[in-house]
Structures are given as C-alpha cells and as structure tokens.
C-alpha cells in the first residue's frame, strides 16, 4: 500500500542517491517512459514547444550518466559533487485507486567542482506511478526560482 510516507521516503532516497553519486540506482527510479524536465518559463505548461533547459527521456539521462564517468570527459576533471537540502515534501496527490502520486518539494541545491560552489533554489515536482510494490518517476520537474538568469555549467541533477 502506497502511503504519503512512501512518497516522502522515495523523494528523500532519490536526493540521497544523487548526493552519493549512485547514478545507476538513480536511473532505476525512473519509469521507462519517465522524463526529467527543467522549464525555462514561469509556470510553464509545454515542455516541447516552449523552451526548456532540459527535457530528457531515459536514453538521454543514460547518456549524461555515462558521460560523467567518461575517460575523455574533461569538464569532469575534477569531478562535480552535489548536495540537496530538501524541505518536507508537500503531498499533492496520494490516490492509490487512481494511481496518482504527486508531491512538490522546496529545495536548495549545491553543486561544486574544484574550488567553485554554486547554489540554486527552487521546487521539485514529482509525478510518480506504482510499479509492483514501489514507485517510479513518471516526471520529475525542476523549477528554479531564477530560471531566466544566465548560469554557468550545471552538470549534475537537481
């Protein structure tokens, strides 16, 4: 039985996998049709015909993860690390009968590389589906508070 605690535990675990760089385990959280989306507009509705920073399926996420470990991936020498500081997720929907599980989580995200440290703030929205006894990510949407500002490299995942 999926409860609100199942959802919050899932979100905390996801952040922990990213912070500990367990990339394959992180990819395993996605549904085969799952997407990772970083909009470029305020309350954006359309990921396809409006510009986004990222809108990636599992194939593209695998490319990113594999690239991070690549012998000739010079932008990862030295490697980046990240840290997620999450507020308690707000459950938007927890309806096992309808198969609807949604949460919105306010966060502060830190990405470092070498001597540099960049900090970002925003909200992560999870659309989850039940597969067997557990949950998978159908859509992870990451809205930055300053989505329209010019950033330097963001190489890991919020």
């Amino acid at each position: 039985m999926i409860t609100e605690k199942t959802i919050t535990d899932f979100i905390y675990r996801e952040a922990d996998l990213l912070d500990t760089m367990q990339w394959q385990a992180w990819l395993d959280l996605f549904h085969p049709e799952g997407r990772y989306w970083m909009p470029l507009e305020w309350q954006q509705q359309d990921p396809v015909l409006q510009p986004s920073l990222m809108y990636e399926d599992l194939l593209l996420l695998k490319v990113r993860v594999e690239r991070l470990a690549g012998e000739r991936t010079f932008s990862q020498k030295p490697k980046s690390r990240c840290h997620h500081l999450l507020q308690a997720p707000q459950i938007v929907a927890c309806d096992p009968e309808a198969g609807l599980f949604k949460a919105r989580t306010s966060y502060i995200y830190t990405e470092t590389r070498g001597d540099l440290l960049e900090r970002f703030s925003g909200w992560a929205s999870h659309d989850l589906v039940q597969i067997g006894d557990g949950l998978k990510i159908k859509l992870k949407r990451v809205d930055l508070v300053n989505f329209d500002a010019p950033f330097g490299n963001i190489q890991l995942f919020m």
Binding site: L49, L53, V63, R72
Partner: protein
C-alpha cells in the same frame, strides 16, 4: 596602463598573418578598447522586429557597454535610442522587453517621450522658461542612433558614423539570413520565447572562433556526442528509426574528412561560414508536410534550392552566429575580458509545422544551455584557455592551419573546411574596426 590607447600600431601588431597575441583575450585594456572602438564601429544585432509587433513595444540591448533601447512608433517605424533619460541619465527601460503604451516615462522625474524619442512633457515645465533649455541637448529627447537598418526583420545598429554602411559591412554574407527567413513558407520569422542564457568565464572571441573551428567537435565532444552515439547503438534494439535527439548529436562525431570537404566560405569584414557543400545539419529527417508547403510557396526549383543550402555556422562579425538550417541565432555578449553572456535565440518559421520548432528548441537546449553536455565540453576548453593564456612561455595563439603565403584579406573565397582562415579573417576585421577611429592612426597616415 595605457599601452594600447590611441596607439593603433600597437593594436595592429597584436594580429600577425598566422597568430594573434594573447592580449586580445586576456588584457583588460584591450577589452576596454573593444568597448570604446570595436563595438561602436561595427554593426551590432539589437533584436528581431517580431519582438516589436505593436506600437509601444520595446526591447533593450547593449552595444559594447552602452545600453540601447529599440521601440516601435505609432507610424510603424522602428527607432533605436541610447537607453538613458536626457535629464539625469536614468535608464528609461530596464526590462529585456515590454510595451510602454503611448509614451516612455522616466521613473525618476516623470519626463516623458514619444515612442519616436521626442520629448513629450516635463512636469512643472515653467521652471525651464527663460533658461535657454530650447538649446540644450536634453530638449531633443532620447538621443537617437542614426545608423539603424532592419534587414528582413533583423535589427542592426552602428553607433559611430565611420562611413562603413550596412551594405558594405555585410555584403554577400546576408545570404545566410536570407536563407533562414526563406525557410518559412511565408518568408517570415517570429521570436515567441525568451532565449537560453549561459554565462561563460572566458573572452567573447573564443566563442566566436569556435563557431568555425571544425577540428574540435570529434575531439572535445567525444564525451557528449560520442557517448550519445554509443548509448544509442547499445540501446536501440530492433528500432530502425533514429530518434531526433540522436540525429542532432550524432553528426558532431563526423570525421575530419567530412568537415574538410564541407568547406568554409569567407567574406570581407570578418564574416564567414562553415558547411558550404553540406553540413552536420544535412541529414535530419524530413518533417511531414513541410516540403509540400515550401513547394507551394516557392515552386519546386526554388524550394529545393532553399532547403538544399544547409550552411552550418555563419559568423557575423563581431559577435553573432546564425544557424540558418535550424533557425538559431547566438549572441556572444561581452561582459568583461574574461566573462561573456551567451544568449541563444530560436526563431519560429511562420507557417511551418510545429515539429521544426520543436527540433530547433531541442537543438538549442542540447548545445547552447548551461545544462547542455556539449556546452560543458566547450566551456571547459574556453576556461582552460583563459587560464593557460596567462602563461608567459609563449604569448601567441596559433591560427596557421592551411595558411597560404600571400593570403588576401577582405575577399570572398571558398576553402577547405578545416582551414583556420575564417579565424584569421575575423582578426583582420578586428584590427580594422578597433583602429578605424583611433587618433594616432589618422596622424600616422598624414
């Protein structure tokens, strides 16, 4: 230290036939002089007329360091002004775009201006009576930039009256903009969204050079495009249709021979493009219904001529790159000697299928975003160059590839696609537009 100010000879000496001195990338004084001379002397892209579709619409931009403001007047004309109130210098508009209504109103003392820049009203105007205000520059309203050309909806401005007209400055290079616009069945482009913005900690010229650097993709992008190709081969299974994403990444891994025969075309004044015979954009899937629309609009022959011209990157000197086949424009905006803001715009081809816009947006986020793995590859190289150039061991950057003795500058030519001649072409133009209005240059000529 004024090593270069009003010293055209010293500036010109930074550019040799086959190499350039590292000061062009790392010296703060050279950067200052670029802001004072190079940018005001060149024709600079301000924005697109579709961003000014209604009277009262405005956009803001910078030419070098100087803030400018473009507006659509009630009679339909586009005007470009220095973005400062003639009273105390306050910026009239601070947002990237908007609609000001019937007039601009300075937020400080409520001086107001019509959308053609003329002074409309000053509160308590009688305070200026008998002061000779009629002769003051402030009475003229917003200072207008006289050299403005709107070419097929692309707005360019030149601050200095140096006699280099728009037509002379760009010449035949405008054919890339023509091709991009012609790719719309209605011959019209539209900006419908904000650009992707990406901050680079490097000199702006490194980005411009990279646009026609065809010997780096298969090396620097092995990590991104190479991995994309590798993962797709492993995961594709029985799938015979290459996804749009893989079609976009894959060609970056083309071998040297591909780029060699693709060719580069150079034009006078530092403009030039890669992908003459064909390009990395040549083999994208057809989009349903598009060819039919183009044939209906232009006829069979002309439609194929337009779609067959798949130029890769066209550099419009000094600081934009146009990718006609994908309808993208990248603006390399100098912020400091080691800081560059890149704004990458996608145009919608009016009347064309949505799928084309979808592909262009995808390309833009794959290649030009702070979250782009191809972008990560490139920025890493620029940052390392910005650091490495501080070394005194060798103070010159080599641009010698396929140099031929007696190479002419300011000519049109089609050459081997792995040549660094377009970079040499840019630096020739750089020296010219840096020094064209330097005092000592005039004295020396006498």
């Amino acid at each position: 230290m004024d090593r270069y100010r009003n010293n055209a000879f010293a500036v010109e000496a930074l550019v040799r036939d086959t190499e350039v001195h590292r000061d062009v990338y790392v010296d703060p004084e050279i950067f200052e002089l670029e802001m004072e001379h190079l940018f005001p002397n060149s024709w600079i892209y301000i924005g697109h007329a579709s961003q000014l579709s209604k009277p009262g619409d405005f956009i803001t931009a910078n030419i070098g360091r100087q803030p400018v403001l473009a507006s659509r007047h009630t009679d339909g004309a586009i005007h470009v002004f220095y973005n400062r109130c003639p009273h105390k210098g306050v910026k009239i508009a601070s947002e990237p775009c908007g609609n000001t209504g019937k007039f601009f109103r300075c937020p400080y003392h409520a001086w107001s201006f019509k959308t053609d820049g003329s002074l409309l009203a000053i509160p308590l105007r009688k305070g200026y009576e008998g002061t000779g205000f009629g002769d003051a520059q402030a009475n003229e309203g917003l200072s207008k930039i006289r050299n403005v050309v709107v070419y097929r909806d692309f707005i360019f401005a030149q601050l200095n009256d140096n006699g280099v007209s728009f037509a002379d400055y760009f010449g035949e290079s405008l054919s890339t903009i023509d091709n991009m616009v012609d790719r719309s069945p209605e011959g019209k482009l539209a900006v419908v969204a904000a650009p992707i913005r990406y901050m680079h900690t490097c000199n702006w010229k490194m980005l411009v050079e990279n646009q026609t650097d065809t010997c780096h993709p298969m090396v620097a992008h092995e990590s991104s495009a190479g991995t994309a190709v590798k993962v797709w081969k492993r995961e594709q299974g029985a799938s015979t249709e290459t996804p749009m994403a893989v079609q976009l990444y894959g060609p970056f891994m083309s071998p040297y021979e591909f780029y060699e025969q693709s060719g580069i075309r150079i034009w006078p004044n530092g403009h030039g493009h890669t992908g003459v015979a064909n390009s990395i954009h040549s083999n994208y899937s057809d989009i349903e219904g598009y060819l039919g629309q183009m044939v209906a609009a232009y006829g069979e022959t002309r439609a194929h001529e337009i779609l067959g011209d798949v130029r890769h990157n066209t550099v419009y000197f000094p600081n934009i790159m146009v990718k006609g086949a994908v309808a993208i424009l990248r603006n390399f905006i100098p912020i400091a000697v080691d800081k560059t803001l890149v704004e990458s715009w996608v145009y919608r081809l009016v009347g064309a299928p949505d799928k084309l816009y979808e592909r262009a947006l995808m390309y833009n986020r794959f290649i030009n975003a702070p979250t782009s793995i191809v972008g990560h590859d490139d920025l890493e190289m620029y940052e390392r160059a910005q650091e490495g150039l501080k070394s005194n061991g060798n103070q010159w950057v080599n641009l010698q590839r396929l140099y031929e003795a007696g190479e002419q500058a300011d000519v049109t030519a089609v050459i081997n696609g792995t040549s660094e001649r377009q970079m040499r072409n840019q630096f020739h133009a750089w020296a010219k537009f840096m020094t064209i209005d330097m005092d000592s240059h005039v004295e020396a000529a006498e």
